[in-house]
């Protein structure tokens, strides 16, 4: 009896603390959406003189409340200047393809590094781990020259391959953990059934690596979706511009008008969050499935 009550009390505390964290997570986004619908006057506060009585009325700034007047014009302004839709699609294409390449190359390399038997695979593994340590911005000039020689500049490929290359090391590190947990007996059984290494990889390993896709995918997504400098330098044509570059450009234009900036921030964030609302369960599930298998 006593224990039950204590449990309840502590769980109330837990919930309270978690709710505080939820508030901290949501509040900046809520605030962003509210100021995207306000005018500077409403955010900063203003005063006006009554033309008849000559009385000055002070209007206090509205920091966190809902807008008194919903200023949809901010969204019109933000949409008019940036080609946000196109940028969003570009980011999506580049990110998805980079993830695909990272996964394929990463799984294959991991297979060679963990399942195949050869001298020097430990050294090779360490060599790949070097990639974890390389800051993406360090190599910008040589990579530019390389991409130009390959004729990749100003195409999706200019970003897809570098992003995949920079995500590869983490991909291999994560996959190694997942692949190590697949029992070797399965390989042996498949071998006895007449599978070669490729057969084992495609029929046995790859399907069992599904859970790793979420983990590697999210990590790669983080790198590609956010990246600003490569995206600025390697792509000139507006046709292939990505979201961060587009957003950055928009900020340059409305540096002092809070409304359109908020609108731009919201427009750039909303599609991701909507997609996430639908997919969050699946993302979490694959994360969890992976860990349970392991």
């Amino acid at each position: 009896m006593r224990r039950k009550r204590k449990l309840r009390f502590s769980s109330v505390i837990t919930h309270l603390l978690l709710l505080v964290l939820v508030f901290i997570n949501i509040f900046p986004l809520y605030w962003m959406v509210t100021f995207s619908l306000k005018t500077n006057d409403e955010i900063l506060g203003y005063s006006y003189e009554d033309p008849v009585t000559g009385e000055r009325t002070q209007i206090a700034p509205n920091h966190v409340g809902l807008p008194r007047h919903w200023e949809w014009d901010n969204y019109v302004a933000a949409m008019k200047t940036g080609n946000m839709g196109q940028y969003f699609i570009n980011s999506l294409v580049i990110t998805v393809l980079a993830i695909a390449i990272t996964l394929i190359a990463g799984f294959m390399a991991t297979y060679a590094l963990t399942r195949l038997v050869w001298k020097g695979r430990k050294a090779m593994n360490k060599f790949f781990m070097l990639g974890l340590t390389i800051p993406i911005h360090a190599a910008i000039v040589p990579v530019y020259v390389m991409l130009s020689k390959l004729g990749f500049l100003n195409t999706y490929a200019a970003l897809i391959f570098p992003y995949a290359a920079f995500a590869l090391a983490m991909g291999i590190l994560i996959s190694t953990g997942f692949m190590g947990d697949i029992p070797y007996e399965l390989d042996e059984a498949a071998f006895l059934d007449g599978c070669g290494v490729w057969g084992i990889f495609v029929r046995i390993i790859a399907p069992l690596m599904m859970p790793a896709i979420a983990t590697v995918g999210i990590y790669t997504f983080l790198q590609c979706w956010n990246e600003l400098l490569f995206a600025t330098v390697f792509v000139s044509s507006g046709k292939y511009r990505t979201l961060p570059v587009g957003v950055q450009q928009l900020f340059g234009q409305y540096t002092t008008r809070w409304g359109p900036i908020g609108a731009a921030l919201t427009i750039a964030t909303l599609p991701t969050l909507v997609a996430y609302a639908f997919l969050s369960r699946r993302i979490q599930d694959s994360f969890i499935a992976g860990a349970v298998k392991g």
Binding site: Y144, T232, V245
Partner: protein, 413 residues
Amino acid sequence: MKKLVALFVAVILALSLCSAFAEGEKTTLTMWCIATESDANRPAYEAAIAAFEAAHPDIKIEWEAFENQSYKTKIKTAMADPSTLPDIFFTWAGAFLGDFVDQGNVYCLDEAYKEFAADLPEVMMGNASYGGSHYGVPLTMNIVVMFANMDLLAQAGYDDVPTTYDELIDCCDALVEADITPFGCAGSETWCVTEYLEPIILKTIGYEELGEIFAGSATWNDEAIATAVDTFQEMITKGYFDPNGISLGNDQVKANFIAGQYAFYQNGSWNCGEVNDAEGNFKVCLFPVMDAEKATYSQVIGGPSDTLAVAASSQNPELAAQAAFELGKEICHYGYLAGSGLPAWTPDYDTSEVKALVADVAAMVAAADGMVLFGDTAMSADPANTYLNFVSKVYGCEIDGAGFITSLASALQ
């Protein structure tokens, strides 16, 4: 591997040649600039390009605009492989373009200039000339001016801008007394701090010495500069500057000034159009003289800096050079009328519509008896940024005048 790459490049080249023929006789010129949508200069670029394409139906200008900060990275990286440069690119004159010229990546404009010499005085080409040859087409020119909010000055009992240093200090004290912040300065963009510091130094040591210092032929180690820096810091610690400025960007500071939060705002004359069109009663003036033996009121910091250049790697360099001049002239024209700068080109159009503040600045330039280009444009990249690093420390009061001159004198020997 090499062979493979070569083959690949050959195929790409062949393909692009084919497509060039397929498109017919229309020539395409590519251009990079920083006039992003709703940038103050955007309408000028749009109008200039439309006019150019109308005059040359066989030429198409394909242009891309980039955000200022990232553009600097982009254009510098592109120099590593000149084949990736556009035909025409925006650049800042002085050392910024000079580096590209040194690398042999910029097409010499001497030949093309001949045709336009009548409309474009040679002196305006000076900042983009290296070794006696011209490499850039100037667009507009600008100087540092002090914008004053006359309504706020009136509240402190002043009906005109202060013209001597003592008057300025009295005026600032009166403003502080009346609970008005005299100055706003964007500390998070160090070039904005130089817009305050350079005129103070200029009015202390005169344009000849300052010009030599920026050119590297005279030393920073001059007691007078230390005094000027200390004066600036005294103004800061006396509360003449908005303390929030240290973490604000220039656009915010400018907006605050226009909204009536500061009495003065010292910055480039490209702001004239915006300030002119804002609600309120504004005037332009110059920072007063500190040492009358060495400087005069009408000496100014500034000069033509915004420039178009042509890549040496261009397929049609003559055509691109021609286009750069024609575009430059029109961008200058529309920019002048919009108040985003003074014309580097001699106007051949109706200038009666020019905004009042712009006209005032034009008069200052005409009367100037000495001009020094902005320090960070005049110096080459490394010293310029070392200079900016120390200027940033001055605004944060991390070093004093003596530390500033000894550090700079040693670092920039």
